[in-house]
Chain length 166, copies 2
Protein backbone atom coordinates (compact mmCIF):
# COMPACT_ATOMS: atom_id res chain seq x y z
CA UNK A 1 0.00 0.00 0.00
CA UNK A 2 2.77 2.40 0.91
CA UNK A 3 4.52 1.45 -2.27
CA UNK A 4 1.46 2.37 -4.31
CA UNK A 5 1.15 5.78 -2.65
CA UNK A 6 4.82 6.49 -3.22
CA UNK A 7 4.46 5.36 -6.82
CA UNK A 8 1.49 7.68 -7.37
CA UNK A 9 3.30 10.57 -5.77
CA UNK A 10 6.34 9.98 -7.97
CA UNK A 11 4.42 9.65 -11.22
CA UNK A 12 2.39 12.77 -10.39
CA UNK A 13 5.53 14.89 -10.10
CA UNK A 14 7.77 16.04 -12.95
CA UNK A 15 10.51 16.12 -10.30
CA UNK A 16 9.90 15.42 -6.62
CA UNK A 17 11.32 17.65 -3.85
CA UNK A 18 13.83 14.96 -2.86
CA UNK A 19 14.92 14.47 -6.48
CA UNK A 20 15.42 18.22 -6.84
CA UNK A 21 17.52 18.31 -3.65
CA UNK A 22 19.66 15.42 -4.95
CA UNK A 23 19.93 17.19 -8.33
CA UNK A 24 21.25 20.33 -6.63
CA UNK A 25 23.59 18.51 -4.26
CA UNK A 26 24.91 16.48 -7.23
CA UNK A 27 25.80 19.72 -8.98
CA UNK A 28 27.31 21.05 -5.75
CA UNK A 29 29.58 17.99 -5.58
CA UNK A 30 30.86 18.80 -9.10
CA UNK A 31 31.43 22.42 -8.08
CA UNK A 32 33.35 21.25 -5.00
CA UNK A 33 35.63 19.15 -7.23
CA UNK A 34 36.07 22.19 -9.50
CA UNK A 35 37.23 24.29 -6.53
CA UNK A 36 39.60 21.50 -5.49
CA UNK A 37 41.06 21.30 -9.01
CA UNK A 38 42.27 24.93 -8.91
CA UNK A 39 45.83 25.64 -7.84
CA UNK A 40 45.56 27.61 -4.55
CA UNK A 41 46.96 30.88 -5.92
CA UNK A 42 45.09 30.87 -9.23
CA UNK A 43 41.77 30.18 -7.49
CA UNK A 44 42.02 33.71 -6.08
CA UNK A 45 43.82 35.46 -8.94
CA UNK A 46 43.30 33.84 -12.37
CA UNK A 47 41.05 35.82 -14.67
CA UNK A 48 40.06 35.96 -18.36
CA UNK A 49 38.64 39.00 -20.14
CA UNK A 50 38.36 41.07 -16.98
CA UNK A 51 36.10 38.56 -15.23
CA UNK A 52 36.28 37.71 -11.52
CA UNK A 53 38.59 34.95 -10.31
CA UNK A 54 36.73 31.69 -9.62
CA UNK A 55 36.90 32.40 -5.85
CA UNK A 56 34.68 35.44 -6.47
CA UNK A 57 32.09 33.34 -8.29
CA UNK A 58 32.15 30.71 -5.53
CA UNK A 59 31.68 33.44 -2.91
CA UNK A 60 28.56 34.49 -4.82
CA UNK A 61 27.27 30.90 -4.82
CA UNK A 62 27.83 30.63 -1.06
CA UNK A 63 26.10 33.99 -0.53
CA UNK A 64 23.04 32.74 -2.45
CA UNK A 65 22.46 29.10 -1.46
CA UNK A 66 21.96 28.98 2.32
CA UNK A 67 20.84 32.63 2.81
CA UNK A 68 18.34 32.29 -0.08
CA UNK A 69 16.99 28.96 1.14
CA UNK A 70 16.77 30.31 4.71
CA UNK A 71 14.69 33.23 3.44
CA UNK A 72 12.39 30.79 1.58
CA UNK A 73 11.89 28.79 4.79
CA UNK A 74 11.61 31.62 7.32
CA UNK A 75 10.17 34.41 5.18
CA UNK A 76 12.61 36.82 6.80
CA UNK A 77 14.21 39.25 4.34
CA UNK A 78 17.98 39.03 4.18
CA UNK A 79 20.57 41.17 2.43
CA UNK A 80 22.85 39.75 -0.22
CA UNK A 81 26.49 39.76 0.89
CA UNK A 82 29.16 38.05 -1.17
CA UNK A 83 32.11 39.79 0.48
CA UNK A 84 33.15 36.78 2.50
CA UNK A 85 36.15 36.97 4.76
CA UNK A 86 37.91 33.86 3.41
CA UNK A 87 41.44 35.19 3.83
CA UNK A 88 42.42 33.75 0.41
CA UNK A 89 42.25 30.22 1.81
CA UNK A 90 40.78 27.47 -0.36
CA UNK A 91 40.49 25.24 2.72
CA UNK A 92 38.25 27.83 4.39
CA UNK A 93 36.00 28.03 1.35
CA UNK A 94 35.80 24.23 1.08
CA UNK A 95 34.86 24.06 4.77
CA UNK A 96 32.09 26.64 4.21
CA UNK A 97 30.99 24.63 1.17
CA UNK A 98 30.60 21.48 3.27
CA UNK A 99 28.79 23.35 6.04
CA UNK A 100 26.40 24.73 3.40
CA UNK A 101 25.78 21.18 2.13
CA UNK A 102 24.47 20.18 5.57
CA UNK A 103 22.48 23.39 6.05
CA UNK A 104 20.81 22.97 2.63
CA UNK A 105 19.74 19.43 3.59
CA UNK A 106 18.30 20.67 6.89
CA UNK A 107 16.50 23.67 5.40
CA UNK A 108 15.13 21.54 2.54
CA UNK A 109 13.33 19.27 5.00
CA UNK A 110 11.36 22.33 6.13
CA UNK A 111 9.99 23.11 2.63
CA UNK A 112 6.59 21.42 2.10
CA UNK A 113 5.86 20.29 -1.49
CA UNK A 114 3.16 22.95 -2.02
CA UNK A 115 5.67 25.70 -1.17
CA UNK A 116 7.47 25.38 -4.52
CA UNK A 117 4.69 27.21 -6.37
CA UNK A 118 4.42 30.04 -3.82
CA UNK A 119 5.48 33.50 -4.94
CA UNK A 120 8.34 34.99 -2.92
CA UNK A 121 10.72 37.94 -3.09
CA UNK A 122 14.33 37.15 -2.13
CA UNK A 123 17.15 39.44 -1.01
CA UNK A 124 14.64 42.31 -1.13
CA UNK A 125 14.38 42.28 -4.93
CA UNK A 126 14.17 38.97 -6.86
CA UNK A 127 10.55 37.90 -7.34
CA UNK A 128 9.05 34.61 -8.52
CA UNK A 129 7.76 31.21 -7.43
CA UNK A 130 10.01 29.25 -5.08
CA UNK A 131 10.78 26.67 -7.78
CA UNK A 132 12.11 29.36 -10.13
CA UNK A 133 14.27 30.80 -7.33
CA UNK A 134 15.82 27.40 -6.61
CA UNK A 135 16.39 26.67 -10.30
CA UNK A 136 18.06 30.08 -10.51
CA UNK A 137 20.40 29.11 -7.66
CA UNK A 138 21.30 25.87 -9.48
CA UNK A 139 21.53 27.34 -12.99
CA UNK A 140 23.68 30.22 -11.78
CA UNK A 141 26.03 27.69 -10.20
CA UNK A 142 26.25 25.64 -13.44
CA UNK A 143 26.84 28.86 -15.42
CA UNK A 144 29.73 30.05 -13.27
CA UNK A 145 31.21 26.57 -12.87
CA UNK A 146 31.27 26.31 -16.69
CA UNK A 147 33.33 29.50 -16.63
CA UNK A 148 35.60 27.92 -14.01
CA UNK A 149 36.16 25.01 -16.42
CA UNK A 150 37.53 27.45 -19.03
CA UNK A 151 39.81 28.99 -16.37
CA UNK A 152 41.09 25.50 -15.51
CA UNK A 153 41.64 24.55 -19.17
CA UNK A 154 43.52 27.82 -19.75
CA UNK A 155 45.75 26.83 -16.79
CA UNK A 156 46.34 23.40 -18.32
CA UNK A 157 44.29 21.68 -15.60
CA UNK A 158 41.66 19.05 -16.48
CA UNK A 159 38.25 19.91 -14.94
CA UNK A 160 36.11 17.24 -13.24
CA UNK A 161 33.65 15.26 -15.36
CA UNK A 162 30.50 17.36 -15.87
CA UNK A 163 28.27 14.28 -15.97
CA UNK A 164 29.58 12.64 -12.78
CA UNK A 165 27.34 13.88 -9.95
CA UNK A 166 28.42 11.31 -7.36
Amino acid sequence: MENTVEQQDKTAQVITPSQLLEHWQGHRRVTRRTIEAFPEKEFFTHSIGGMRPFSGMVSELLAIAVPGLKEIVTGETTTFNENLNHGNSKATILQWWDEATEQINELWSEIPAEKFQEHVKLFGQYEGPVQSQIFYFIDNEIHHRGQGYVYLRSLGVEPPFFYDRS
Copy 2:
Protein backbone atom coordinates in the same frame (compact mmCIF):
# COMPACT_ATOMS: atom_id res chain seq x y z
CA MET B 1 -14.14 25.19 -10.12
CA GLU B 2 -11.63 24.98 -12.94
CA ASN B 3 -9.52 27.51 -11.13
CA THR B 4 -9.45 25.33 -8.05
CA VAL B 5 -8.40 22.26 -10.03
CA GLU B 6 -5.66 24.21 -11.74
CA GLN B 7 -4.56 25.60 -8.40
CA GLN B 8 -4.41 22.11 -6.91
CA ASP B 9 -2.46 20.80 -9.86
CA LYS B 10 -0.01 23.68 -9.62
CA THR B 11 0.51 23.41 -5.88
CA ALA B 12 0.97 19.64 -6.17
CA GLN B 13 3.85 20.05 -8.61
CA VAL B 14 7.35 21.26 -7.75
CA ILE B 15 7.50 22.39 -11.39
CA THR B 16 4.75 21.67 -13.94
CA PRO B 17 5.51 20.34 -17.45
CA SER B 18 4.61 23.71 -19.00
CA GLN B 19 6.80 25.59 -16.51
CA LEU B 20 9.70 23.26 -17.33
CA LEU B 21 9.22 23.84 -21.06
CA GLU B 22 9.19 27.61 -20.50
CA HIS B 23 12.28 27.26 -18.27
CA TRP B 24 14.13 25.46 -21.07
CA GLN B 25 12.95 27.76 -23.85
CA GLY B 26 13.93 30.76 -21.69
CA HIS B 27 17.45 29.37 -21.45
CA ARG B 28 17.43 28.65 -25.18
CA ARG B 29 16.60 32.31 -25.85
CA VAL B 30 19.67 33.34 -23.83
CA THR B 31 21.79 30.85 -25.78
CA ARG B 32 20.43 32.25 -29.06
CA ARG B 33 21.50 35.76 -27.99
CA THR B 34 24.92 34.34 -27.04
CA ILE B 35 25.34 32.89 -30.56
CA GLU B 36 24.26 36.23 -32.04
CA ALA B 37 26.79 38.11 -29.90
CA PHE B 38 29.75 36.24 -31.43
CA PRO B 39 31.58 37.77 -34.37
CA GLU B 40 30.97 35.44 -37.36
CA LYS B 41 34.57 34.28 -37.70
CA GLU B 42 35.31 33.81 -34.00
CA PHE B 43 32.13 31.77 -33.51
CA PHE B 44 33.80 29.04 -35.58
CA THR B 45 37.45 29.57 -34.59
CA HIS B 46 37.93 31.17 -31.16
CA SER B 47 39.22 28.80 -28.52
CA ILE B 48 40.74 28.89 -25.03
CA GLY B 49 42.89 26.16 -23.49
CA GLY B 50 42.39 23.76 -26.38
CA MET B 51 38.60 23.72 -26.03
CA ARG B 52 36.16 23.62 -28.98
CA PRO B 53 34.99 26.85 -30.57
CA PHE B 54 31.50 27.88 -29.43
CA SER B 55 30.05 26.62 -32.75
CA GLY B 56 31.13 23.11 -31.75
CA MET B 57 29.33 23.38 -28.41
CA VAL B 58 26.19 24.71 -30.10
CA SER B 59 26.31 21.84 -32.60
CA GLU B 60 26.31 19.47 -29.62
CA LEU B 61 23.28 21.27 -28.12
CA LEU B 62 21.40 20.96 -31.44
CA ALA B 63 22.35 17.29 -31.68
CA ILE B 64 20.91 16.65 -28.21
CA ALA B 65 17.70 18.70 -27.90
CA VAL B 66 15.34 17.61 -30.70
CA PRO B 67 16.83 14.12 -31.30
CA GLY B 68 16.80 13.39 -27.55
CA LEU B 69 13.25 14.67 -27.09
CA LYS B 70 12.09 12.73 -30.16
CA GLU B 71 13.55 9.57 -28.67
CA ILE B 72 11.72 10.26 -25.38
CA VAL B 73 8.42 10.68 -27.28
CA THR B 74 8.75 7.85 -29.83
CA GLY B 75 10.93 5.37 -27.93
CA GLU B 76 12.96 4.82 -31.09
CA THR B 77 16.71 4.65 -30.48
CA THR B 78 18.70 7.30 -32.31
CA THR B 79 22.43 7.79 -32.75
CA PHE B 80 24.17 10.90 -31.47
CA ASN B 81 25.56 13.00 -34.32
CA GLU B 82 27.00 16.45 -33.68
CA ASN B 83 28.86 16.73 -36.99
CA LEU B 84 26.39 19.14 -38.52
CA ASN B 85 26.94 20.44 -42.01
CA HIS B 86 26.61 24.14 -41.16
CA GLY B 87 29.17 25.38 -43.68
CA ASN B 88 30.59 27.81 -41.10
CA SER B 89 27.46 29.97 -41.37
CA LYS B 90 26.04 31.51 -38.19
CA ALA B 91 22.79 32.25 -40.07
CA THR B 92 22.34 28.54 -40.81
CA ILE B 93 22.88 27.61 -37.16
CA LEU B 94 20.46 30.31 -35.99
CA GLN B 95 17.87 29.00 -38.45
CA TRP B 96 18.33 25.45 -37.10
CA TRP B 97 18.06 26.88 -33.59
CA ASP B 98 14.68 28.46 -34.40
CA GLU B 99 13.42 25.30 -36.11
CA ALA B 100 14.43 23.33 -33.00
CA THR B 101 12.47 25.80 -30.83
CA GLU B 102 9.27 24.91 -32.70
CA GLN B 103 10.02 21.19 -32.75
CA ILE B 104 10.66 21.18 -29.00
CA ASN B 105 7.27 22.83 -28.40
CA GLU B 106 5.53 20.26 -30.61
CA LEU B 107 7.29 17.25 -29.10
CA TRP B 108 6.70 18.55 -25.57
CA SER B 109 2.93 18.49 -26.10
CA GLU B 110 3.25 14.73 -26.65
CA ILE B 111 4.86 14.06 -23.25
CA PRO B 112 2.21 13.21 -20.63
CA ALA B 113 2.99 14.36 -17.06
CA GLU B 114 3.52 10.81 -15.77
CA LYS B 115 6.22 10.23 -18.42
CA PHE B 116 8.78 12.38 -16.58
CA GLN B 117 9.42 9.65 -14.00
CA GLU B 118 9.75 6.85 -16.56
CA HIS B 119 13.18 5.27 -16.97
CA VAL B 120 14.63 5.59 -20.48
CA LYS B 121 17.92 5.01 -22.27
CA LEU B 122 18.87 7.72 -24.80
CA PHE B 123 21.30 7.63 -27.72
CA GLY B 124 21.84 3.96 -26.94
CA GLN B 125 23.71 4.65 -23.69
CA TYR B 126 22.47 7.35 -21.27
CA GLU B 127 20.06 5.91 -18.70
CA GLY B 128 17.74 7.57 -16.21
CA PRO B 129 14.26 8.96 -15.65
CA VAL B 130 12.96 11.33 -18.34
CA GLN B 131 13.15 14.31 -15.97
CA SER B 132 16.87 13.73 -15.35
CA GLN B 133 17.47 13.45 -19.11
CA ILE B 134 15.74 16.78 -19.77
CA PHE B 135 17.54 18.51 -16.91
CA TYR B 136 20.77 17.15 -18.37
CA PHE B 137 19.90 18.75 -21.74
CA ILE B 138 19.24 22.09 -20.01
CA ASP B 139 22.19 21.95 -17.60
CA ASN B 140 24.60 20.97 -20.37
CA GLU B 141 23.39 23.99 -22.36
CA ILE B 142 23.90 26.34 -19.37
CA HIS B 143 27.37 24.82 -18.79
CA HIS B 144 28.57 25.36 -22.35
CA ARG B 145 26.91 28.75 -22.69
CA GLY B 146 28.79 29.84 -19.55
CA GLN B 147 31.96 28.84 -21.39
CA GLY B 148 30.77 30.87 -24.39
CA TYR B 149 30.47 33.88 -22.07
CA VAL B 150 34.20 33.58 -21.23
CA TYR B 151 35.02 33.34 -24.94
CA LEU B 152 32.99 36.52 -25.56
CA ARG B 153 34.63 38.39 -22.66
CA SER B 154 38.08 37.37 -23.91
CA LEU B 155 37.08 38.87 -27.28
CA GLY B 156 35.98 42.09 -25.59
CA VAL B 157 32.30 41.40 -26.33
CA GLU B 158 29.64 41.81 -23.63
CA PRO B 159 27.53 38.62 -23.27
CA PRO B 160 23.72 38.80 -22.91
CA PHE B 161 22.24 39.12 -19.42
CA PHE B 162 22.15 35.68 -17.79
CA TYR B 163 18.99 36.51 -15.82
CA ASP B 164 16.95 37.83 -18.78
CA ARG B 165 15.04 34.84 -20.16
CA SER B 166 12.57 36.84 -22.28
